[in-house]
Symmetry: C2
Subunit: 270 residues, 2 copies
DNA sequence: GGGGCAAAGTTGGCTGACCAACTTGATGGA
DNA sequence: TCCATCAAGTTGGTCAGCCAACTTTGCCCC
């Protein structure tokens, strides 16, 4: 009971417990956000112990179940441990970005204080091949929109992005001016939402096109991320293949016995 | 109400609702396992809708809260969507492996039906440098154990593994014969548990040592995975750097607005 | 001092209940 | 026919309570 925190000590002040404009509307999200803040600023120390669930519940004026929900978020992000019988322990200062920073090159760049750029090299419409129909769950005979873009950070080329869009998304992309930086943002404003994504990360050699755009040798190694994104209803909205120059980017994941989402697997035929 | 499933229709048969020897002890884990089975075998169709939470609760004879806990697992694995107002939809057949398959080269290889091998090239004990003390949370003056191993799949070299162990783990590793395939398994039997891991994935060029062991050119691109693993108490037990030959392996992640754990970030200095 | 043991503290798991927010489909009117 | 409205169905979120399993601490006894 002798714990005295200089901050994070009162019960979610602001707006009479209504949804404040800063934090997420749900109670457990606000508790999670507050605890995350407290942890990353070192309020509990490097490997310190968190207060008990009951104590947190009392402090925030919520039920223990809500606190548990909040802590589950932090556990999934790899911020704290979680085992029966003992208090939670701070694991690390893992800064896990928002979902959008992973999906949108633009958001990611801006969050680092860099200026993102994108130049559309080509946009064509053509019938989908078998693999594309499979990935985007399209009927035989359906068409797809294929874009090729060179992405830059503060002017220097970083990544080549090849994206396949299903028709209902492609028509919107096709209407965009070629110098629009963020397709994702534009699509969101037109009601196309991105909620789930599967990522696969490996290494490939640069082909002629990659080499010309990125200014590297043909055959030079590139970090490749393939991504299939779906909307809230589960409908695929994008199938993209991004190729990064080495040394510019790395991908980070946390996984644990509790919640694992990453998997290593043998590369299937390309 | 007209749903008739040929399987997965009764209430978790076996052992009088006690923890069966096959499934996880917790009730929600068994429900999750059963639903995963049903989904991956296509019982609900490609993009079909799952039964309502209430219906599942009744079917399995558990409360709705338990069903929700089970479904949260599937949602985190990217198997189903989850939005307010409508039934859950099957997202994909994502086969997410167990935590151990990611941490242990041996487990991973065996799960693919390949024969893993490992040859210890060197094992030395020396004072930890600043970075190692930081990663493994060691006191100044502490020593570390450094291993270098060449990993093979069915005889062919695949990966070079450099692992830094803190003293309490290193002493155990040092006692192992040089041809032990799975260090992880051996350590687990001696009470060293692996529960949480942070992974960072990027590309590096092979140095002279890599080239000699893997049989590739110096400067050839390798897929690098750096991993820091901790035990249940949050204490670091390993800091490893694995370098894979390209084309042999890829990493997969699922993330969503609900649960995001992956992050892309600019590469800091090496 | 050391080892075993009991008790307190803490998280995991499960239940039942309630309301809010949202989606979908049907109904009915312009 | 088309559109607005409404009602039913469904998931999200929160609460209170209970017990089990586990860890840690401190006590007692040898």
């Amino acid at each position: 009971m002798g714990e005295t925190l200089t901050e994070h000590e009162n019960q979610l002040d602001g707006q009479d417990q209504k949804q404040g404009p800063d934090a997420g509307g749900a109670l457990y999200r606000r508790v999670a956000a507050d605890l995350r803040e407290a942890i990353t600023t070192g309020a509990y120390g490097e490997a310190g112990r968190l207060p008990a669930e009951g104590a947190l519940a009392e402090r925030y004026g919520v039920s223990r179940g809500t606190v548990r929900q909040a802590l589950a978020v932090l556990r999934a992000d790899g911020l704290v441990t979680s085992r029966r019988g003992t208090r939670r322990v701070v694991l690390g200062n893992a800064r896990v970005q928002s979902f959008s920073e992973l999906l949108s090159f633009t958001h990611w760049a801006r969050s680092m204080g860099e200026e993102p750029g994108g130049q559309l090299e080509s946009l064509i419409r053509r019938p989908a091949d078998a693999a594309e129909r499979e990935q985007l769950r399209l009927d035989p005979g359906a068409e797809v929109y294929v874009t090729l873009r060179l992405r830059t950070l503060s002017g220097t080329p970083v990544m080549v992005e090849r994206t396949i869009y299903p028709p209902h998304v492609g028509v919107l992309v096709a209407k965009l001016p070629p110098d629009v930086v963020s397709h994702t943002e534009h699509l969101r404003e037109h009601g196309i939402l991105f909620t789930d994504a599967d990522h696969t990360i490996d290494v490939v050699a640069a082909n002629g096109e990659d080499a010309k755009l990125l200014g590297c040798r043909r055959g030079a190694p590139l970090l490749r991320e393939r991504r299939r994104t779906t909307d809230p209803t589960g409908r695929p909205v994008e199938w993209s293949q991004d190729r990064y120059l080495p040394g510019m980017v790395a991908f980070s994941v946390h996984n644990s016995l509790a919640t694992s989402a990453l998997s290593r697997h043998a590369r299937e035929s390309d």
